[in-house]
Amino acid sequence: MMEVWRRPGVTRRFLVRVRRGAPPGVGALAWVAHRITGLVLLGYLFLHLYTLGSILQGPAPFDTAMALMAQPAVRLLELGLVWVVLFHAFNGIRLIVLHLIPAASQRALACAVGAATVVVGLASLPLFLP
């Protein structure tokens, strides 16, 4: 009986729980979102470096690239990025707090992360309006 037991992965287990009406808790959802936002931000870092890399061809190509960044479509993407950054940062702060105060309420902090993301995200909207 001790052959290697193949267990269904985390994604499948979480989806089964959602389907059956016993979804994973707020903390687990925060973990999933933290990972996804982290990967998105890493991709953005590479993209950011790529656009900055236009300086290697001279100041004029750089200025052209920066003018492209000011287009409304790109500004919209930047707005989405702000939300991603905000969530990842606030959840990171939640992790820092949990490690310093082990007795803290996990659920309260996880909900606070969601609330902070939404509130600060909405507060930063005026910066993106023309």
Binding site: R7, R20, A22, P24, W31, H34, P102, Q106
Partner: protein, 252 residues
């Protein structure tokens, strides 16, 4: 098996229970079975399974104390690890065995990996001079009363943890961290439990607190993990300070 509850004369409702069946002697793959169970107000999953036995449906399952104190009856209820004796029956419930371990039959799994892991951790008090008198601190007594003595090793936290795949992975599971914290807090134990915890995947935990959600006794393995992490960091910093002070290589 005799059902311990009196026969159900006037049920409140008729519920459907889905159980994932698997008999290695006859089945190649598991399959679902659906069964009708009459429901009265306080009927638990264990009692429902016993009712089915009385009706000639022999679903294999583990149960013992029926009062969430022995930890035998952990199964997946609608995908969530729960104690069957602590779960009231609901309509359209799906029962599955714990996914971490090989299935022996129906809802019974082979938990040998857990016993091997626990034995390897040597969780009995060790490494301290037994002759010396000791007096446990109030804090230690409180910690045992509140947490360590209450863990019934039911494996619900192990099942719920997304960072722990099996006893063979880098992080065997939150229960082992809680047990190592218990061993550390024991006044008669002198081993380096914090170091052992670091080797048992202490730093793999992602603080999702699923273990705390799943624990039927509302213990917090993640809290114990974070406390152990603080101790490990303190021990590491302390080791660095000692090394720089003495100017010699002392093991941290």
């Amino acid at each position: 098996m005799t059902c311990y509850i009196p026969s159900i004369e006037k049920p409140d409702a008729l519920y459907t229970l889905h159980v994932r069946r698997f008999d290695p002697a006859t089945d190649a793959v598991p399959h679902w079975g659906s069964y009708k169970v009459p429901f009265v107000r306080t009927l638990t999953v264990v009692e429902a399974l016993e009712y089915l036995w009385d009706q000639g449906t022999y679903i294999a399952f583990r149960a013992n104390c029926r009062e969430f104190t022995c930890g035998s009856c952990a199964i997946l209820v609608n995908g969530k690890p729960r104690l069957a004796c602590d779960t009231l029956l609901e309509d359209d419930m799906h029962l599955e065995p714990l996914s971490r371990y090989p299935v022996l039959r129906d809802l019974v799994v082979d938990t040998r990996p857990v016993r091997e892991r626990m034995r390897a951790l040597r969780l009995w008090p060790e490494g301290m001079d037994r002759g010396a008198p000791y007096s446990p601190s109030t804090a230690a007594l409180e910690a045992f009363r509140r947490t360590y003595s209450r863990c019934i090793e039911c494996y619900c936290c192990l099942e719920a943890c997304p960072a722990s795949r099996s006893e063979q992975s880098a992080f065997p599971g939150p229960m082992y961290q809680l047990q190592l914290a218990r061993a550390r807090a024991h006044p008669l134990d002198g081993l380096n439990r914090v170091g052992r915890a670091s080797a048992e995947g202490l730093w793999q935990c992602v603080n999702c607190a699923e273990c705390r959600e799943a624990c039927p006794l509302e213990l917090s393995p993640v809290g114990e993990i974070n406390r152990l992490r603080l101790r490990a960091l303190g021990a590491w910093v302390w080791g660095l300070l000692r090394r720089s002070q003495d100017g010699r290589e002392s093991g941290a």
